[in-house]
């Protein structure tokens, strides 16, 4: 069947799933006084529309930063402004300064969900389609299946369309960056990635691979010739992009500093909302909080994060192939936040989309590609864990996640350990992360298969 028809069917199915999830409840629905992320986004539209630009990030009488103050870079603010203009034409009550706090209505929900879908359709979905069609190898069927799996990834759908966020935009821009780099358009790639960075500062996780890859490539081309030229081009693109995004704030350095302070709130502790990371898990064993001071915790966490990604980045510097770059990117931290979904009443869609995704990934990937253990180099992985019994790791992890999900919903935690389940979920998520991290390290450092080595930038 023709590629375009298959791809359009995948996209349509993705839209159906997204909109289906949209019709569920969102973060903070009906929960005054603070509500949730949905109210935060609505509040940002209110702030950006009604207040002058200089006041967006500062604490004034009109703008109370304690009530969902802006804490994403300026591109998010501009996006909210555009949405606010649309909102104003439909119903001015939605963005009335102060009066619209906690505004909830079916029509408004429809509008907000529509903004997420439009942003996805414009930025994320085209990036996914183009990436899978042009930068993956294999038969057409395999490419279409990759599109399918990408578009149906439950985590992103549930966070963006259930919980309510705009991660699709920043991920989309980052993916455009990867796409451009894959096609050899380094300046455009850097431009796209800068846009992603200026949308959400979380993309800094991906910044290191980008930086190392481009630096490594320039070095390889020779620092006295084309390499230098490339470096200069990239650097100027980055600077110009940042300047354009921050232009309105650069007139007053105080404004710019205030924005930076809002974006990187280092005063907050490390345990924000029991997010899955090493610290939470480690804390079960060693009470870190009581041992170290707040500042040293920050330094140590920074050092450890750097150490964790350092090997892959060094490898990327030495061998800047596109394939290595992709592998390094996979280390983007993916957080499975079940308690957050539970808070928003999204358990059923979570279960359903995860199940659907798992089913389709297993079925499609196994049917179309004879994935032998050799090819996946799981042999090395298994050797590392020779102490564990020879069970299928995949089914163990799936059953663990399923079991945890069921337990979190069905049982009531014991009274002396009230946060048992969220902590367990975070720890499991971290273990999964650690497992895949080690696996990809092994893959990156072993010999790449011969058929993958003829990329354009090799």
């Amino acid at each position: 069947m023709q590629t375009w028809s298959l791809v359009s069917m995948c996209v349509l199915l993705g839209i159906v799933v997204r909109w289906g999830v949209s019709l569920n409840s969102y973060s903070g629905a009906g929960k005054p006084p603070m509500f949730g992320d949905y109210e935060a986004q609505r509040h940002w539209q209110e702030v950006t529309y009604n207040l002058p630009l200089q006041e967006w990030y500062s604490n004034t009488t009109e703008n109370d930063l304690n009530y969902w103050g802006l804490d994403y870079p300026p591109l998010t603010a501009y996006h909210s402004l555009v949405c606010a203009y649309v909102a104003k034409t439909i119903n001015p009550e939605w963005v009335d300064l102060h009066k619209s706090r906690g505004y909830e209505s079916p029509a408004h929900k429809l509008f907000m969900r529509a903004t997420v879908l439009v942003a996805d359709l414009l930025i994320y979905i085209p990036a996914v389609v183009l990436y899978c069609l042009y930068l993956t190898d294999g038969s057409t069927k395999k490419k279409v299946c990759t599109v399918f799996c990408f578009l149906l990834y439950p985590g992103l759908i549930l966070i963006d369309y259930g919980h309510f966020q705009y991660n699709g935009v920043s991920l989309g821009f980052a993916l455009w960056g990867v796409l451009a780099l894959g096609l050899g358009w380094d300046a455009l790639g850097s431009l796209a990635f800068c846009l992603a960075l200026n949308y959400k500062q979380m993309e800094l996780y991906h910044a290191l691979p980008f930086f190392c890859y481009l630096l490594g490539k320039s070095v390889k081309l020779g620092l006295m010739g084309r390499g230098l030229f490339l470096l200069v081009r990239i650097a100027s693109t980055v600077l110009v992009t940042f300047a354009l995004c921050w232009l309105p704030f650069l007139s007053d350095p105080g404004d710019a500093m205030q924005v930076v302070r809002r974006i990187f709130p280092v005063a907050r502790g490390l345990f924000e909302d029991k997010v899955a990371n090493a610290w939470c898990s480690l804390n079960i064993l060693i009470k870190i909080r009581s041992i170290l001071s707040s500042d040293s915790q920050i330094y140590i966490s920074f050092a450890c994060t750097l150490l964790a990604v350092l090997p892959s980045c060094v490898r990327l510097l030495m061998k800047p192939t596109f394939w290595q770059f992709k592998l390094a990117l996979v280390r983007g931290i993916q957080l499975i936040i079940l308690p957050l979904f539970l808070k928003d009443g999204l358990l059923v869609p979570y279960a359903v989309t995860s199940l659907a995704f798992l089913f389709f990934s297993i079925y499609l990937l196994s049917a179309l590609e004879h994935c032998s253990e050799e090819e996946l180099r799981l042999g090395a992985f298994h050797k590392l864990l020779f102490c564990l019994p020879k069970l299928d790791l995949f089914y163990i992890s799936v059953s663990a996640m399923a079991g945890l999900s069921v337990v979190t919903v069905a049982l009531v935690p014991p009274t002396h350990l009230p946060d048992l389940f969220p902590v367990l979920v975070s720890s499991t998520a971290f273990l999964h992360f650690l497992g895949t991290f080690i696996y990809f390290n092994i893959v990156q450092f072993s010999e790449p298969p011969s058929r993958k080595s003829q990329k354009k930038n090799d």
């Binding site: 028809s5 069917m9 089913f359």
Partner: protein, 524 residues
């Protein structure tokens, strides 16, 4: 190597997952589920809480029991499961009760009964002849049929979003057809009798069954020239058929006949007090008739040929179902529609008597009966188009001409279901699902019959493209225009009229393919 049986199982699971996907968004949306939801809740309550003698007399709610008794027994069975979800839904007084557990139970019951439909679809796929060759699985006719049946847009919309048990009922119909295709006529007859006693709308296709079974099953042999061989009549087979039908009806109606309630039951099943057309006109000939009447009336008033005061005031496409009189053209009574329907299906039925073409001829006759009743029937629901669309899928994957008719009828029929979902929240879903199904059916059927020119005639392509224009006008342009207040029924009218052209055209083309003399070369 993946074989088809392997695929079927996985497709079953895929269909189940798609059902779950749909349930996940509807469980939490408490507004905008249709009145049919309350209808079925009410029936659960009636069958559970009241004694059998009261079932067809009960009218606390406006949604009285108007399906045959076997469906009532089915609802009784469901109600015992419902008790564990939320006992309050089983109280007759709880009108419009829709707690989350109630919604969950109802949706789950549809999904569960859908399993029968999945089984029936699988049986139909087994009847379809696969050409021997090295085609990959995705291009085999049986696979295409499986997708066309399981992911049928109309069925998804009507069952899971609008809420009915059509998947369950169509399961019986398709299974019965599959049994006939597999030459197991007694089983097919049994399934059809059960179906008739579950929902009497399938009386539309009863003539096809009756004549086919009489002609091809009771007469065991044909003469050499194809005509009836009267001597080969087998009374035993006739008795067997009669026994099956009689026993199923006895099971269903028995208690009511014993209580002397048969007239009451029949009056509930056939409420002719409802108008010629449903609130939203089904795209049949009467929609065109009504429109013509309206146009003539308006013209007559403009040209001062008629008095406006003399015209009956009735809103034909208002939200309520009312009886109305036509202004200019003669009014249509139920008997007229009955006569028209019978006349329209007579040639088809006669054709399988005088020139039986085996089980596939029977299927074609069944389609024509369904479509004929749709086009000429009294108070037809637009959902009834599915009775024609689903069996036509079987013919479409085997025969090139049928594939072309299928594309026209299905796209038109599915689009005519759009007004069932009218809230803005449902717009992206119905448009995406419709596009999904349409793209798949066009590309899959094209690939199946590739290399022999286009499946659609130019006029048909233009018509289907016009559908896009009508859709845009009705869904996007009209609500934002100033006419929205003055003429709110205009999109419904436009949809009805435009779709009825397509439906009537498909009806005529199907007839032509049936009545064509058998000398013409058959398309593989």
């Amino acid at each position: 190597i993946v074989n088809l049986r392997h695929f079927s199982f996985r497709w079953c699971v895929a269909r189940c997952l798609s059902d779950l996907l749909l349930i996940c968004h509807w469980v939490c949306v408490s507004v905008s589920h249709s009145t049919d939801f309350e209808v079925h809740r009410n029936w659960l309550a009636i069958t559970h809480s009241l004694p059998v003698s009261r079932w067809y007399h009960e009218n606390t709610s406006e949604w009285t029991l108007d399906y045959p008794p076997l469906f009532a027994w089915f609802e009784l069975g469901l109600s015992h499961a419902a008790r564990h979800f939320d006992p309050d839904m089983l109280l007759v007084e709880n009108l419009n009760y829709a707690s989350p557990s109630t919604v969950l139970f109802q949706r789950l019951s549809v999904i569960f009964t859908d399993l029968l439909f999945i089984y029936a679809a699988r049986e139909c796929c087994r009847c379809v002849q696969d050409q021997k060759g090295s085609r990959d699985v995705l291009n085999r006719p049986s696979f295409v049929l499986a997708v066309l049946l399981l992911w049928n847009f109309g069925l998804l919309i009507v069952d899971h979003i609008h809420f009915q048990y059509n998947g369950f009922l169509f399961g019986f119909l398709l299974l019965s057809v599959a049994k006939h295709l597999q030459r197991q006529h007694l089983q097919g007859a049994l399934l059809f009798s059960v179906l008739l006693n579950l929902k009497h709308i399938y009386l539309y296709v009863a003539p096809a069954y009756g004549v086919y079974l009489l002609r091809s099953y009771c007469f065991t042999q044909d003469n050499k020239d194809g005509s009836v061989s009267w001597s080969s009549f087998s009374p035993l087979r006739l008795l067997a058929l009669g026994g099956i039908v009689a026993s199923v009806c006895a099971l269903s109606f028995g208690p009511f006949i014993a209580m002397g309630q048969l007239p009451q039951v029949l009056s509930r099943l056939f409420p002719f007090k409802r108008g010629l057309c449903h609130a939203y006109w089904a795209p049949n000939i009467w929609a065109l008739y009504n429109t013509l009447d309206k146009i003539l009336a308006t013209l007559g008033v403009r040209l001062k040929l008629l008095q406006e005061a003399g015209l009956p005031r009735a809103s034909m496409t208002g939200g309520l179902v009312q009886e109305f009189q036509h202004s200019v053209l003669p009014s249509v009574t139920p008997s007229i529609t009955l006569v028209c329907t019978l006349l329209s299906i007579l040639p088809a039925v006669a054709s399988i008597w005088f020139r039986p073409r085996g089980a596939r001829g029977f299927l074609r006759c069944l389609l024509l009966c369904a479509l004929g009743s749709f086009v000429f029937g009294w108070h037809v629901h637009e959902k009834a188009i599915l009775i024609a669309i689903l069996p036509l899928s079987i013919l479409a994957v085997e025969n090139r001409e049928d594939a072309g008719i299928f594309l026209v009828l299905t796209t038109t029929g599915h689009y005519s279901l759009f007004p069932l979902l009218f809230t803005p929240a449902e717009l992206p879903i119905k448009v995406s699902l419709m596009l999904l199904f349409t793209i798949y059916s066009f590309t899959a059927l094209r690939k199946l019959y590739s290399g022999r020119g286009s499946l659609l005639r130019p006029l048909e392509s233009v018509y289907l493209l016009g559908l896009v224009g009508v859709a845009f006008a009705c869904e996007v342009a009209f609500p934002l225009s100033p006419w929205q207040q003055k003429l709110p029924f205009l999109p419904l009218l436009a949809t009805s009229v435009y779709c009825s052209l397509g439906v009537c055209y498909s009806f005529l083309r199907l007839y032509a393919s049936l009545l064509r003399p058998p000398g013409k070369p058959k398309q593989p």
